[in-house]
């Protein structure tokens, strides 16, 4: 048998139920993989071996007693460190939350635990989810399992690297402007951002509340469906949670693309797109057309302004969301002779440069006299983006683009150029502004052997068609390649 750390959730589930594999053995394989790769990758901030072992043992007992909680029962899953976990340090990769132990579990954590999942640990990220490379972590960067000199993308880079390397069978990430899809693309895994409101944000440390959404990172589309089903659904603790039923994503999952209308978004294949990325993605689209999809090119003119609008809206919300980190009640505190001084120096020392930049940007954008020109204007653009998407979805069922204009870039390559870094998310940001779902599916490698992801977008609550097309992409154009660091051989 191959190393259980490389199994998909569905394959592992079958073995757990046939008795050929125990949850404890599966966890041990995953922890062994982590112990071999972490020194290089640094995907995790915390590995909860004790808690995970107890959960795996409990899963085995439950299986023995015939008490099966479903697909995720006994499956090792990692959590991005911006989802609060009762009793386990949650830092958002920030100094300001160093040592912070939350007294409660996020709703998604409760749901995973209720589904019998085994929580492996907390993954590294860009501080407070601000970044596209996981270099903005106060605890050191995460590296890409495909090439340790390169970034895994971000901000959910730790989750992406862990799944890619086999240190977890699945992980949760959060996506505010592409933070699930872009690292998924750069590490060759599936990453999915649900419709805004389908997954509870209760217990997700907020970056930009109107854009943040939790979603799965997995090795296959099937696995993404499984995790999505476990975490989606109304939560009365989140007032922005969608109160209606979760779309049925399983019934039509294998329906294929014949007859579906697929729109190729002109604005997202622009000049900045690496030709190799464009070519690999184009090939995937051609395969869809061969399979009967009705492919056409569509234009969403407002997307030209989406990035600018995003970099006003997200910082504005972040400036308010992050105000609570003041050293008064928890986290890092620096002394001061007045309470204002104490707050100011705690924040100065506790928040990193990118977070500080965005807090300042957002504070400025919301200030009296500037609000209308910046934040107000950005909200208008957001409305236009929503309209453009709505119009496009009148003509097509899904939209297609690359996830990232480039494959994984070198560590340090963009750290001195925030604007170049911001452009990493140009293809993913529009659907956050619209609140629509999106998914990244691996479709091949560039000439340097680095993974490339194709993005499928669907209208709000269009998860059924989103997963269906994603699964077709996976089966028609998917890549079976695994990163060097993930193979037992390479890791040893």
């Amino acid at each position: 048998m191959s190393d259980p750390a490389d199994l998909t959730i569905s394959a592992a589930g079958a073995l757990l139920r046939s008795g050929d594999l125990s949850a404890v053995e599966l966890l041990e394989a995953v922890l062994r993989r982590a112990s071999m790769t972490e020194a290089i990758l640094h995907a995790f901030l915390t590995i909860d071996s004790a808690g995970a072992s107890a959960a795996a043992a409990a899963a085995d007992e439950a299986f023995a007693a015939g008490d099966d909680l479903g697909h995720l029962h006994g499956i090792p899953i990692a959590l991005k460190d911006n989802m609060v976990t009762r009793g386990i340090e949650t830092t958002c990769s920030s100094q300001i939350l160093s040592g912070y132990i939350p007294p409660y579990d996020a709703t998604v954590v409760e749901r995973l635990k209720a589904a019998g999942a085994v929580i492996v640990g907390k993954t590294n990220m860009d501080e407070f989810a601000m970044g596209s490379s996981t270099e903005n972590s106060a605890y050191g960067a995460t590296r890409n399992p495909w090439d340790p000199d390169r970034v895994p993308g971000g901000s959910s880079g730790g989750s992406a690297a862990a799944v890619s390397a086999g240190s977890a069978l699945a992980a949760l990430g959060s996506d505010t402007g592409g933070s699930i899809r872009q690292p998924a693309s750069l590490t060759g895994v599936v990453g999915m951002k649900p419709t805004y409101g389908l997954v509870s944000r209760y217990g997700l440390v907020a970056f930009a509340s109107s854009l943040d959404q939790i979603g799965p990172l997995t090795r296959t589309v099937d696995d993404a469906v499984t995790v999505f089903e476990a975490i989606a659904g109304h939560d009365p603790s989140d007032a922005t949670s969608y109160p209606g039923p979760v779309p049925d994503v399983r019934t039509a999952l294998d329906g294929g693309v014949a007859g579906l209308r697929v729109g190729v978004v002109r604005e997202l294949w622009g000049e900045g797109t690496d030709p190799e990325v464009a070519a690999v993605c184009r090939r995937a689209v051609d395969l869809l057309a061969d399979a009967g999809a009705l492919v056409s090119e569509v234009s969403l003119p407002s997307l030209e302004y989406a990035l600018s609008a995003y970099y006003l809206i997200a910082p504005a919300e972040c400036s308010s969301n992050l105000a609570r980190f003041d050293g008064v009640r928890y986290g890092l505190r620096r002394a001061g002779s007045t309470v204002e001084e104490m707050m100011a120096s705690s924040r100065h020392d506790g928040l990193g440069p990118e977070v500080t930049r965005r807090v300042l940007l957002g504070t400025y954008a919301l200030s009296a006299g500037y609000y209308d020109a910046f934040y107000g204007q950005a909200q208008k653009v957001r409305t236009l983006v929503i309209r453009d998407f709505a119009a496009a979805y009148g003509d097509v069922d899904v939209l297609i683009s690359p996830v990232s204009p480039t494959t994984a870039f070198k560590i340090g390559e963009r750290t001195d150029d925030p604007l170049a870094m911001y452009l990493s998310d140009v293809c993913t940001i529009p659907s956050n502004l619209a609140g629509d779902p999106g998914i990244s599916v691996p479709v091949g490698l560039d000439s340097g052997g680095l993974p490339i992801g194709l993005q499928v977008l669907a209208p709000a609550l269009g998860e059924a068609v989103l997963f269906r097309v994603a699964k077709a992409v996976e089966s028609l154009a998917g890549s079976d390649a695994r990163p060097a660091l993930a193979t037992s051989e390479g890791a040893a």
Partner: protein, 482 residues
């Protein structure tokens, strides 16, 4: 009075006494140990999210309706951003340009002169925690440290903003009094000024008569009684008048009323330069209120103080009695119950505004918690009006009733306070007194009316105070032939 036109607007904060807080399930409990009525939401812990309290929304609609406001079908929460140690998120969830209620009015009356005060808006927000500064006399400056209790954090607040329609400190007080009575009649708050469950901030400016442009605005805070609201504004008018007369500028500032020295003092200048960077609260969706809800809340409103007062006046109470009975907690219920038992409204009101209020004050308990009922009050009034009980004796009987000793008649009999109306017994006493005081009787016959009082007193003494003095007086005059 000032030679200038005075312009006053009042912002009122009312703490709602809902079972739970504005955005979480924690109890609203001011008696709990510090930081025990708290949860991740009202502590502003990372990841926690607010969920609005439907009851608080309903009560705000009720207050808005009582003030004749338009109720918005859709209103929006905003974040008011500022850093303060007892504000756990460092923003307060409040409402900004789309409040729940707007454009109402409140009728007030000072010395019989009515004024209409416009209500700009009535909106919802959350309260902050409470800081206690150690040392330095409780002030933050120079203190050794500060403790924060977050039990109050997230308690629902309603803010009522008036138009600048108020022209005198007396009108300000009348406005505040009336608003408080409306809040009490709706049962949505304890409205205790001294405990801060109802707080008034006043904006005041002066301008020369005829000038269109408003003068420089001063915000006055920290008035914890209706009287101090009136005094603080009177002080500010005097202070600003002197400055304007002397051609000195008025600084736009927040000033704090200091009760002991009876003056206002400038607050910290930092409080004035705030830019709250209002942001539509992205964690909440707009508050949608259906037409049915608005109508149901409107039609379910209890009788409001103004209507109750005019009904009491129609029952025969004078203006002041109607005001006092309407405003006093539980007094209106007693009046109505006693009248239903057949008592005269004016007599009952006299008792309520006099001895009953005095007794409640000295007992320190709400009237509902005493054994006094409408039926007992009606019986007491009937006994006095029927001459069975003297007014003085009735006071003792009332005290007995309120102390739980039983029914008025039973108490009067037990204490031997019933007046004797048996004229034979009184005649006998009068005859005996007249026989014992021949000189005085002679002088009375001679026209010295003062002696009636003396002789009545002697008879009252002889009867142990149980005779009706009027009856005795009449009898003496007729016997003496005076």
């Amino acid at each position: 009075m000032s030679a200038y036109d005075v312009v006053i607007g009042i912002e009122t904060h009312v703490e709602l006494r809902t079972a739970s807080k504005m955005f979480c399930g924690c109890p609203v409990d001011f008696t709990a140990e510090p930081n025990t009525a708290v949860c991740p939401v009202c502590l502003g812990l990372p990841g926690a999210l607010p969920v609005p309290n439907a009851r608080a929304v309903e009560w705000t609609i009720a207050l808005g309706s009582a003030l004749g406001c338009d109720i918005a079908a859709e209103s929006v929460f905003h974040r008011k951003n500022y850093f303060y140690a007892d504000l756990p998120k460092n923003y307060q969830i409040s409402q900004f340009d789309l409040p729940l209620c707007s454009d109402g009015k409140l009728d007030v009356e000072v010395d019989g002169v009515p004024t209409v005060v416009g209500i700009t808006r009535v909106h919802m927000e959350e309260d902050t925690g409470k800081s206690t500064h150690m040392g330095a006399g409780g002030r933050i400056t120079g203190s050794e440290g500060s403790l924060v209790d977050f039990n109050r954090s997230g308690v629902p607040l309603v803010e009522v903003v008036s138009e600048p329609d108020i022209k005198t400190p007396e009108q300000a007080r009348a406005y505040a009094t009336e608003l408080r009575e409306i809040v009490l009649s709706l049962g949505i708050s304890d409205a205790r000024l001294e405990e801060g469950s109802m707080r008034f901030d006043a904006n005041i400016s002066l301008r020369p008569p005829g000038q269109q442009e408003l003068g420089v605005k001063v915000e006055v805070k920290n008035m914890n009684s209706l009287r101090s609201l009136q005094r603080a504004l009177a002080y500010e008018i005097e202070r600003q008048t002197k400055r304007l007369d002397a051609d000195e500028p008025i600084e736009q500032a927040t000033r704090h009323w200091e009760e002991e020295s009876r003056r206002t003092a400038p607050g910290r200048s930092k409080e004035e330069s705030s830019d709250y960077r209002y942001l539509r609260e992205p964690d909440l969706i707009p508050v949608a209120v259906s037409r049915e809800t608005i109508e149901a809340v409107g039609s379910g409103l209890p009788e409001l103080p103004a209507a109750r007062r005019s009904r009491y006046r129609e029952m025969g109470l004078d203006f002041e009695a109607a005001r006092l009975v309407s405003a006093g907690e539980g007094l209106g219920g007693l009046l109505e119950a006693a009248v239903a038992e057949g008592a005269g409204a004016a007599s009952v009101a006299n008792w309520l505004t006099g001895d009953v209020m005095a007794q409640i004050r000295s007992l320190g308990t709400p009237v509902e918690e005493t054994p006094l009922t409408g039926a007992r009050l009606a019986e007491l009034v009937a006994m006095v009006d029927g001459g069975e009980l003297s007014a003085t004796a009735a006071k003792d009987v009332l005290a007995g009733v309120m102390a739980g000793e039983g029914e008025p008649r039973q108490i009067a009999e037990e204490r031997d306070l019933m007046q004797i109306t048996d004229s034979g017994f009184i005649e006998e006493a009068v005859d005996r007194v007249l026989a014992e005081h021949p000189d005085e009787v002679e002088r009375l016959r001679g026209g010295d009316g003062r002696l009636t009082g003396f002789l009545v007193g002697m008879v009252m003494k002889a009867t142990g105070g149980k005779a009706d003095p009027r009856q005795v007086s009449e009898m003496i005059r007729s016997r003496a032939g005076a």
